[in-house]
Each structure stands twice: as structure tokens, then as C-alpha cells.
């Protein structure tokens, strides 16, 4: 029982990341009709917002202490982060919580990056074939990767979770299942965070006038335009919003996966499978498929399963995608007419 619950938790956790990235991809596709292969790079950029914020907080003063020496006889360098020197205990707490605090930096940065990307490049490809869009956005992703590699190097940069969430949550005790069911705190935080972001995006689209107009535009942009609404501007903002969602997913994932310049590509391929399985243009489908594939991947990694079909954990997502597309060609919740022209 514990093993099954654990795999479900693991799957939900992974699925949260898939769902967040796929949600942004679907938003962009549903509004602008663009297949954005640079979306994984936005996830990676978000992660590097956390890295940058952490680096800023850890700018430090270096003082040589002549009284002390290192084990090899050199004078000891005493390093103190400025933020701790200036703000005392609050500075130390801020440093500890640098990953969640970096959301403050990530939201405006990702919004600007998203809007700049759409206005500066992607809008010129709206009426071009999907193949052109894929090529140009893939090229853009490589450019962003190389810029990050230039400034941050090629190696992963670990980001610690706050001390309070760095340990183990005894989930079993909470639900009266005994002490054996344990799960890392930060992964639980990530799952809750991804659910909150997904909820916020749906609430925005469902319950605000802005969101309603966007949804109407997704169905029939021409009619919305006839009503005198500048739907293009709203779609530009939606592109920025999708970039923020991807960026936030990246920020909070850094304690789980130390970010490097290539991390976006690893998630991008899986997220496209998620979008296709969920149904092109379907927000609900993207979220459902994200969690479903995350859980299936997690179960496929159980030794009992791998003993029957070796290597199944590596191919399960693609296998499920094939089966679903054979039985439901539009995906789980795909809309009629999307990418069927």
C-alpha cells in the first residue's frame, strides 16, 4: 500500500511540472496558434531567475583574518554576504528562502521576456506553416540556451530548499498510515504550488472578463475582433502569462533538479507529448495528461513492473501516447478542428 501511495505522490509531483509546462504550451497554441518549441527554454529561464536571485543575495564581503590560518597555512578569508551584514537575521532568513523569494524577480522578468519574444519574433510567423514556427522557435531555444551557458557555465547549479522544507515529511503519520510513508517536504510544496498555479490560471480564464474575452478569442478571434476588442494585444499578454507559468515552474523546481542550460529541452519533449495526449489546444486536457503521464511513469519505474518489462520506465510515456492517439486521435480532451486543416 505504501509503495503505491508513494508512487502516486511521485507521479503527481512529476506530473505537476509536466502539467505546468504543457499548460503554457497549450495557452500559446490555443490563443496564437503557434507551436512554441522555445517554451522549454522559458522553463529554464525561470530556473535561472532563481539562480540569479540567489547569487545576488550571496554577494559577499571578503576580509582577511590575520589571526587565523587555513589548514595549509594561508591566512583565512572570512566571507559574509552583504545581505546578512546589512539585514542581520532577516537577511539570513531571506537567504534561506531565496528560491521561493525569487518568484518576485521571476514574474516581471518572465512577463517581459514573453512579451518581447512574441512582439520581437513570433508575431512574424503567425501566418506561416507550423513547420516554420517549429524551426524558428527551436532556433530561439538554442540561442537562449547558449546565452545562459555563456553567463552561467554548463554545469548544474544546485539551489537549496529552505531549511524548514529540506527534510522529510512523514505523510503516513498525517493520514494515520504509520511512519513508513515518507516523502521530501519540498516535493510536496512543489505539488501544492503547481496545483495553485494551475488553479489560478483557470480562475483567471474562467472568472475574469479579461479571461472570458481570451477564451472567446480562442474559439473565434474574428468575431471578437468585430466587437471592437483588440484581441491581438490580449493574446500578447497571454503569451507573457504562459512565459510566467513556465518560469514559475522552473523557479520552484530548482531544489529538485539543479538547473543547467539544457534542462528546458529535457522537459520540452515530454511536455509536447503531454499536450498531444491531452489534446491540442485543450487546457484541461494538458493538465489531466500531465498528471496521468507523471503517475504512469512513476508506476513504470517500480521494480516489480520493470521485472516484467525491462526498460518500460523509459518508454511508457511514448507508449501511452501511441495507444491514446490510435484510439482517440484528438487526444483525451482535444477539440474538433484544431490542427486538422
Amino acid at each position: 500500500m505504501d509503495a503505491i501511495l508513494l508512487q502516486i505522490l511521485n507521479g503527481l509531483d512529476k506530473g505537476g511540472a509536466y502539467a505546468l509546462i504543457a499548460l503554457g504550451l497549450t495557452l500559446v497554441f490555443g490563443t496564437l496558434g503557434v507551436v512554441n518549441f522555445a517554451h522549454g527554454a522559458l522553463f529554464m529561464l525561470g530556473a535561472f531567475c532563481a539562480v540569479t536571485f540567489n547569487k545576488l543575495l550571496n554577494l559577499e564581503s571578503v576580509v582577511i583574518d590575520p589571526e587565523q590560518t587555513t589548514a595549509w597555512g594561508s591566512p583565512l578569508e572570512v566571507r559574509t554576504p552583504y545581505v546578512e551584514a546589512w539585514l542581520g537575521d532577516f537577511g539570513a532568513v531571506l537567504n534561506d528562502y531565496s528560491v521561493p523569494a525569487s518568484i518576485v524577480l521571476a514574474i516581471p522578468v518572465m512577463l517581459l521576456v514573453g512579451i518581447a519574444m512574441e512582439r520581437g519574433l513570433i508575431r512574424y510567423f503567425y501566418k506561416r506553416p507550423h513547420a516554420d514556427q517549429i524551426l524558428v522557435t527551436f532556433g530561439l531555444a538554442i540561442v537562449i540556451q547558449e546565452i545562459i551557458k555563456h553567463f552561467f557555465g554548463a554545469n548544474p547549479i544546485p539551489q537549496p530548499a529552505p531549511d524548514a522544507f529540506a527534510g522529510t515529511a512523514y505523510v503516513g503519520e498525517i493520514f494515520g498510515l504509520g511512519q513508513t510513508l515518507a516523502y521530501p517536504w519540498w516535493r510536496i510544496v512543489y505539488l501544492l504550488f503547481s496545483l495553485a498555479v494551475i488553479g489560478a490560471v483557470f480562475a483567471f480564464l474562467q472568472f475574469t472578463t479579461y479571461g472570458m474575452v481570451v477564451r472567446a478569442g480562442m474559439h473565434d478571434r474574428q468575431t471578437v475582433g468585430f466587437l471592437g476588442i483588440d484581441i491581438q494585444r490580449r493574446f500578447t499578454v497571454v503569451f507573457g502569462l504562459a512565459a510566467v507559468v513556465a518560469g514559475l515552474a522552473g523557479v520552484m523546481y530548482t531544489p529538485i533538479l539543479p538547473p543547467d542550460y539544457h534542462m528546458g529541452m529535457e522537459f520540452l519533449v515530454l511536455s509536447f507529448v503531454v499536450v498531444v495526449v491531452g489534446g491540442m489546444g485543450s487546457l484541461g486536457g494538458a493538465v489531466a495528461a500531465g498528471f496521468l503521464l507523471g503517475i504512469l511513469q512513476s508506476f513504470a519505474s517500480m521494480n516489480e513492473v520493470k521485472a516484467i518489462i525491462p526498460g518500460i520506465d523509459q518508454i511508457i510515456i511514448y507508449l501511452v501516447a501511441v495507444v491514446i492517439l490510435l484510439t482517440l486521435p484528438r487526444g483525451l480532451l482535444g477539440r474538433r478542428g484544431v490542427m486538422e486543416d
Binding site: D2, A3, L6, Q7, N10, D13, K14, T70, A71, W72, G73, S74, E77, G153, A154, N155, P156, P158, A166, G167, T168, Y170, T180, A182, Y183, P184, W185, W186, R187, I256, L257, P258, Q297, S298, S301, M302, N303, D313
Partner: protein, 448 residues
């Protein structure tokens, strides 16, 4: 005019004189002729070494430290700095004025912790840069691939951090030499210590990096623990360079195992150990015993990456900067003054390899590879930080003591993360070279 009749005695005398007369010049030019037949013999006033080190990928931290060590070694060989281990090495022909009167130059490349990139590096450095010796690497897959290339090209490979039994076992090469210890020696050293600490009735679960080093590490530590009476519950392979090990760790929780053995190194080990601790493994009680984690190959660099997770964890090391001998103090001081950190075991082994190669050239009196190989084979030395060491001729594996270490509970600073539990003597770690098979291959010199 009367001619002397040629008799048997006269014929033999004249033949001997003629033979000596013809052979004498060959004696004086033999080196020159041989050197012409060898790859990249230096003709100018410098000799070039090539470092192929992983500056990216799972073993990038080790690679960066290796490169620092090589650069320091070159400084010392050229007579700059404090001379480092040249002063403590015994015996040594090094004088701190280069090698055979030539200054040492160096080139390097990023092997990316990838076999094909490592081979490309080595080939480029040999063919384009004229490197006469290649060293470096933090992965056994790289070492095996590069020493094979070096054998084909007639260039000596002094491997850096490589711990697979295969490097000097089934894949050993005449042109490949390893100073670092191996997985078999880790198993022999660590087995009795963890048997003493955790008892004889244990159930072990292995997570293993899926390449030559992981396989032989798993094989060796399994042999050692099963000899203690431990049962192996499962041995699961993980891809090199995985960052998220959660899918491999969750099955451990309900496997009935009470020990997790992480046959991982570098960032793989940092990630897998940290995540295993986050999943509560070290707080668990299984089969009425505390759940334990063992990391057979351990280093200070990994301990820095894993932080508190390493406390109390057993492993083995080739060398540690806290050893109390004169050579260790010397290299630690020298490296610390240059870079502000103590050398890692990867840095130490690379530094020593560079000096050993240079010393062998000096002793051989030539850069001609077969002669240098012969100077290294069976060479017995001391004063390099590991105690009395033999470069065994049969497999080119150094025979020396190795260390059992444990993550320190109360570190004094960020470099004081491991304590030495036991120095396991060379007698214990020495084994029959035939157990791993393989053939060294010919001495033949080649022109590249």
C-alpha cells in the same frame, strides 16, 4: 708481394673487429633512431603534455580540480613555485628544470564526461598539438577509451581518476598506467569495516551508475558484502548523469532492504545521496535495524556537494589531504597556496601521474615511449602521499595503501568533511593481476 693465407683464427679475429667497428656508431645513435620512430618526440625546446579533463557533465567538479593539479605540476616541473612533491619523491631523477632539458608545455580540452569527446580531445592533442603524453579523465569509460586510442597511436596515457577494475584489468594496455586505486581494492578495504559497524545480517540494495565503473564497483562491493553474509536484495542500474533519482529511490523504501549502496560518483552521488536522505531513508528502521547508506567511492568534493547528508557515511578514498605524512602536507600547502582549497583525491592522483611520467623520462634518458614504459613498469617509489607504492609491471596498476573514510559528524570547516577511519595496508589491497584477465599488448613504437 706475399699475401697472408686466411686461416680460421684470422677469419674470426677480422670478423670480430669488423663487427665491433660497424656496431659502434649504432650504439651512439640508437636513441636518435628510436626516437625518430616514436610519436611526437619533441624537437624544439619544449615537450607538450595533453590534459583531457571533464569540465562539464556529472564529473565536472573533479575535472576542474584535476586541471588545477596538472597546471601546478607543470609549474613545479619547470622549476616555478615551491617545487611541490619533487622535493619529497624518493627516488627521483627530477631536478625542477623541465624534462631532459626541455620545458614542459601543456594543452587541455573538455571531455564533457563523455567517451567520444575524450577520444576526440586526445586525438586532437596528439595530432595537432603534438602531445607526447595524455592524462586526465574522471570516468573509467573515458580512461578505457582514451588508453586504447593511445595504445594505437603510441602515446603514453597516465590516467586520472578511474576506479573501474577494467582499466587495468580486461581493458589494460601497455601504454596505459593507473595510479588511482580500483573497485576491487575498495571492496577489500571497506567490507570488514562496514561488517564491523553494521553487523553480518544485512540486506543490501544497490543503485549503480550504468557504465564500466559502476558495473565493476557493484560487482566488487557485492562480493565483499556477500562474503560478510549480507544478502543482495536488488541491484538497479541508473543512467550516468541522472539528476532526479526519485524514481529509483522510492522502490528502495519498501524493498525490505536495510542498507542502500550507492555505486555513484560525482554529481550523481551528490544527487542520489541527497535525495535518499530527503526520502527519509536514514531515519528509517527496517528489520529492527537502522537503515544505512554506503558510498563505496567517496571524495571531499562530493561531500561538499552533499552537505549534511554525508555525515556518518562510510566509503573509500585513494588519498586524503588530512593524512599526516610529509608529502601530503607539502602538496596540500602548495595547492592551497595556489588555489585556496586543499587538493581533492582526483587532483592528487593527476599531479602524481604527471610527475611520475616526467621522472620516468628522466630515468630512461629519452622520450622514446617503449623505454619510458619500461622505466615505469615495476617502479617502486615513496614520498607522494600514499606511502610506499609499486607501479606493477603485470597490469600497470599502482599497489599502495588505500583509505576507509567516513563523513564527519562535526566538521571544523567546509573542507573538513571526511575523517579517515582506517589506512588499509598495501599487503591487504594487493591482488593477483591475473584475476581480471586482459593483455597489455606490445611495446612497439608508432609514428603518429
Amino acid at each position: 708481394m706475399k699475401f697472408k693465407t686466411m686461416n680460421r683464427r684470422l677469419f674470426l679475429r677480422n670478423s670480430a673487429i669488423a663487427g665491433v667497428g660497424l656496431a659502434a656508431p649504432m650504439h651512439f645513435i640508437r636513441g636518435a633512431y628510436a626516437q625518430d620512430m616514436s610519436c611526437n618526440v619533441p624537437t624544439g625546446d619544449t615537450v607538450t603534455f595533453g590534459w583531457s579533463v571533464p569540465l562539464t557533465g556529472a564529473y565536472a567538479d573533479e575535472g576542474a580540480d584535476e586541471l588545477k593539479a596538472f597546471q601546478l605540476a607543470v609549474k613545479h616541473l619547470n622549476g616555478e613555485g615551491d617545487g611541490g612533491l619533487i622535493a619529497t619523491m624518493k627516488p627521483t631523477a627530477l631536478k625542477g628544470n623541465g624534462i631532459l632539458g626541455k620545458k614542459v608545455a601543456q594543452v587541455h580540452g573538455d571531455s564533457q564526461t563523455k567517451t567520444d569527446a575524450a577520444r576526440d580531445n586526445a586525438k586532437r592533442m596528439i595530432e595537432r598539438d603534438g602531445a607526447i603524453m595524455i592524462s586526465g579523465g574522471s570516468s573509467s569509460a573515458e580512461a578505457v577509451a582514451v588508453q586504447s586510442l593511445c595504445q594505437d597511436m603510441g602515446v603514453i596515457h597516465m590516467s586520472g581518476l578511474t576506479h573501474s577494475n577494467d582499466t587495468t584489468g580486461k581493458d589494460k594496455k601497455r601504454y596505459g598506467f593507473r595510479h588511482f586505486f580500483n573497485a576491487y581494492q575498495s571492496g577489500v578495504a571497506l567490507g570488514p569495516v562496514i561488517g564491523e559497524a553494521y553487523g553480518k545480517d544485512r540486506r543490501a540494495y544497490h543503485l549503480t551508475a550504468d557504465y564500466t565503473w559502476g558495473w565493476t564497483q557493484e560487482e566488487s562491493i557485492k562480493a565483499a558484502t556477500e562474503a560478510l553474509g549480507w544478502e543482495t536484495v536488488a541491484a538497479v542500474r541508473t543512467p550516468l548523469g541522472s539528476a532526479d533519482f526519485s524514481q529509483y529511490i522510492t522502490p528502495v523504501l519498501n524493498s525490505g532492504a536495510d542498507v542502500l549502496i550507492l555505486n555513484h560518483y560525482g554529481k550523481d552521488m551528490v544527487n542520489s545521496l541527497t535525495q535518499a536522505v530527503q526520502f527519509g531513508l536514514r531515519d528509517k528502521q527496517v528489520n529492527g535495524k537502522n537503515f544505512e547508506i554506503v558510498v563505496p567511492l567517496f571524495s571531499e568534493l562530493m561531500a561538499q556537494g552533499a552537505g549534511d547528508a554525508v555525515k556518518g557515511i562510510f566509503g573509500t578514498s585513494n588519498w586524503d589531504w588530512k593524512l599526516d605524512d610529509e608529502a601530503t602536507k607539502t602538496i596540500t600547502k602548495s595547492f592551497g597556496a595556489e588555489y585556496g582549497t586543499p587538493p581533492s583525491q582526483a587532483a592528487h592522483t593527476c599531479y602524481v601521474q604527471a610527475l611520475l611520467y616526467a621522472d620516468a623520462c628522466e630515468r630512461a634518458g629519452t622520450f622514446y615511449a617503449p623505454e619510458v614504459i619500461k622505466a615505469l613498469e615495476g617502479f617502486e617509489f615513496d614520498g607522494m602521499g600514499n606511502g610506499a607504492t609499486l607501479y606493477r609491471a603485470e597490469d600497470h596498476q599502482c599497489m599502495k595503501p588505500c583509505l576507509v573514510v567516513r563523513g564527519k559528524q562535526e566538521p571544523k570547516d567546509k573542507f573538513d568533511l571526511m575523517e579517515i577511519v582506517q589506512v588499509v595496508s598495501r599487503d591487504v589491497t594487493t591482488y593477483d593481476p591475473s584475476i581480471f584477465g586482459g593483455e597489455l599488448g606490445p611495446y612497439d613504437a608508432k609514428q603518429c
